[in-house]
């Protein structure tokens, strides 16, 4: 894994993520923004694949790209006349947003970098996980087993479904 190629690939993906997310945020057209988001999501999945979490990547694509994006697109179509441009931002708002964003990003970066020495470790080799292991862990009650969160997640989704139904109902 420790090849030059993978590093280069990693950087390409990383840059893609950054570029697309910036584009998603600055693009004037909402539909275009959604598309950029889609790219970001794919790129993320790419990272997952690259570091060996195939299952995660798959889920990412399935849920995000498949589910959430569809929702987005639908809602955009529902609420927008096609081709409407976002009005220009006021300077005031831009500065406000920029300051907050930079501050947030700055602090995160600072803390990450201050922690950086550890980050520069080599990625451990010979790493592989199988779907079976994941399945076991999901239903295990031992340490690093996730039966309870799994069940809880189910309940959360149920709650959200009920909530969504309630909200979406006409009356």
């Amino acid at each position: 894994m420790e090849s030059l190629g993978s590093i280069i690939a990693y950087f390409i993906i990383a840059i893609a993520i950054i570029v697309f997310s910036v584009l998603a945020m600055t693009s004037g057209k909402i539909l275009r923004a959604a598309t950029y988001l889609l790219f970001v999501l794919f790129a993320t999945a790419g990272i997952y694949f690259q570091i060996g979490y195939e299952f995660l990547g798959a889920v990412q694509i399935a849920v995000y790209a498949g589910g959430i994006m569809v929702l987005f697109v639908f809602s955009i179509l529902l609420t927008h006349k096609p081709g409407a441009n976002a009005p220009r931002l006021t300077n005031h708002k831009r500065w406000l947003g920029l300051s907050a964003a930079l501050l947030g990003a700055g602090v995160c970066l600072y803390s990450l970098l201050s922690y950086g020495s550890m980050m520069m470790q080599k990625m451990p080799d010979n790493f592989s996980i199988d779907i079976h292991g994941i399945g076991q862990a999901l239903l295990s009650t031992d340490k690093f087993g996730y039966l309870l969160p799994f069940e809880a997640m189910g309940i959360l989704l149920l709650a959200c479904i009920i909530g969504g139904v309630v909200i979406a109902r006409k009356r």
């Binding site: 803390s111 909530g163 969504g164 309630v166």
Partner: protein, 487 residues
């Protein structure tokens, strides 16, 4: 695979049973008897609450992911009491014309959020914690949006949800840092490692975690959604939000900070909390002074109350935990009483401005009496429970004996004067202001009355009957795992 471990969480399971029964009744029950659903829920929940008395199972399940101690048990019971009161209060409202169609969902969502809170309290793993947190907050957005016809309700829901998601993003970010630092999300593991860590990343992580939970508690500066949402949401939901959800968050906060980061180098979080408490109490009060809408007013007052609750956390000891639980209990009674009155009046006349309360005593003496008790209790006036809870919380904060804490408590105390001012404004409106009252004499519904009576007794008795507090302290001492690492 040992599924018997689920038996360690009887309260959660019991709650789910209640939920299922309600759900089934709502879905398959006869159409005609649907209007008895609220009563049914209340009764079921009441039975459940009572049964809780026999449900204490101490122990750790799922390899340390879930823990049940006397302390968590008591916390849940306290929440149950609050939920029960809310349920009783909302019986009439739930049967109203507008609500009839969504009645079942209201209770289902409510119970599910309670479940989320249980998880939050008992979770000893951040993943579970996050799920609990989200379960407790996301469905609330739906509840907030329950007033279909009112635009404010939607606006509030949107605001709530956006802020909630934003804050959970921040929270998760903080968690990812924590994970990056310690490589585990089990509270236990983190607590062992946190001791000698001084990196800036820990600080940032802590700040984000505090921000994430602080959102639920509406601590300043993470509080700004509070007033708008409280105002926009249907009143029972508001009272639920302000009391139950906040109480649960407070418990969880205590657990996270003390158990997980309790041993952090020079107690970094105490200083963060220090600043936040000062801000919370002061700004909450300052905002509250100018409010004329009773719900917004109560929102800001609850913000400053949250600041006081945090004083118990800063103490970080058994007394602190007990005082915190006590405070929340008392707060439940007082605030629900206040909301109950506000709700009854809103139901009756649609009036929500404090100015409309002028001369209320002449037309509705009992309502105004209850309101007055609530206000006095919130302001911390003896012999009502609020006084005791405030006193204990201050006492617990001061136990460490540092001068800085004395100053903090002094600031808090000075703020109680400001808060007294605006609480008295309400009392003044009801009792002193001479104007003719715009609210006619009316009888509040049975459920509302029962709830108010319960609250009134709670306000009066919780403080004076000392065994409650003593019991809480014992319960807190039982949760020794929480403090075992502090030594």
């Amino acid at each position: 695979m040992d599924y018997s471990q689920f038996l360690y969480m009887p309260q959660e399971l019991g709650l789910l049973v209640v939920f299922l029964l309600v759900f089934l009744f709502d879905t398959f029950g006869p159409k005609r008897s649907q209007s008895s659903l609220p009563v049914l829920t209340a009764v079921l929940f009441g039975i459940f609450t009572v049964c809780n008395g026999f449900m204490l199972m101490r122990g750790t399940a799922f390899s340390g992911m879930f823990e049940s101690t006397a302390a968590t048990y008591v916390m849940k019971v306290i929440l149950n009491i609050g939920v029960l009161i809310v349920l009783i209060q909302s019986i009439k409202w739930a049967n109203s014309e507008e609500m009839a169609i969504r009645r079942g969902e209201f209770y289902e969502l409510l119970l599910l959020t309670v479940f989320g809170m249980y998880l939050m309290i008992s979770a000893r793993h951040f993943l579970l914690f996050v799920i609990g947190l989200e379960t407790a907050s996301l469905p609330l957005a739906a509840l907030v949006a329950f007033h279909k016809k009112r635009y404010e309700s939607h606006e509030a829901a949107a605001k709530y949800l956006f802020t909630a998601v934003f804050s959970s993003a921040i929270f998760l970010m903080g968690l990812s840092f924590v994970y990056g630092l310690f490589g585990s999300l089990y509270f236990e593991d983190i607590a062992y490692q946190v001791m000698n860590n001084t990196s800036a990343m820990l600080v940032v992580a802590l700040a984000f975690v505090i921000a994430g939970i602080g959102f639920k508690l509406s601590l300043v500066p993470f509080h700004l959604w509070t007033a708008d949402v409280y105002q926009g949401a249907p009143t029972p939901v508001t009272s639920y939000l302000s009391v139950i959800s906040k109480g649960a968050a407070a418990f969880a906060f205590m657990v996270v900070l003390v158990q997980v980061f309790g041993a952090a180098y020079s107690k970094i979080w105490e200083w963060m909390l220090y600043a936040i408490i000062v801000l919370t109490i002061t700004l909450g009060n300052l905002f509250a002074i100018r409010q004329r809408n009773i719900k917004r007013f109560l929102a800001f007052s609850s913000i400053s109350q949250a600041g006081y609750i945090m004083l118990g956390v800063i103490g970080g000891n058994e007394i602190g935990l007990a005082s915190l639980m006590f405070y929340v209990l008392v707060y439940i009674f007082s605030n629900l009483a206040a909301f109950g009155v506000a709700f009854a009046i809103e139901q009756q006349s649609g009036k929500v401005s404090i100015d409309d309360y002028n001369g209320l005593y002449k037309t509705n003496p009992w309502l105004s009496f209850t309101m007055m008790l609530a206000m006095f209790s919130l302001a911390g006036i003896p012999p009502f429970a609020g006084f005791f809870s405030k006193f204990f919380i201050f006492a617990s904060a001061l136990e460490c004996g540092e001068m800085s804490i004395y100053i903090l408590v002094l600031i808090a105390l000075i703020n109680t004067i400001i808060s007294l001012y605006y609480y008295l404004l309400v009392v003044k409106a009801m009792f002193i202001s001479p104007d003719e009252c715009g609210i006619e004499r009316f009888r509040s519904s049975c459920g509302e009355r029962v709830a108010m009576i319960v609250c009134t007794f709670g306000i009066i008795l919780t403080g004076i009957v000392s065994c409650i507090y003593t019991f809480l302290v014992e319960a807190a001492q039982d949760g020794t795992t929480m403090f075992g690492l502090l030594g």
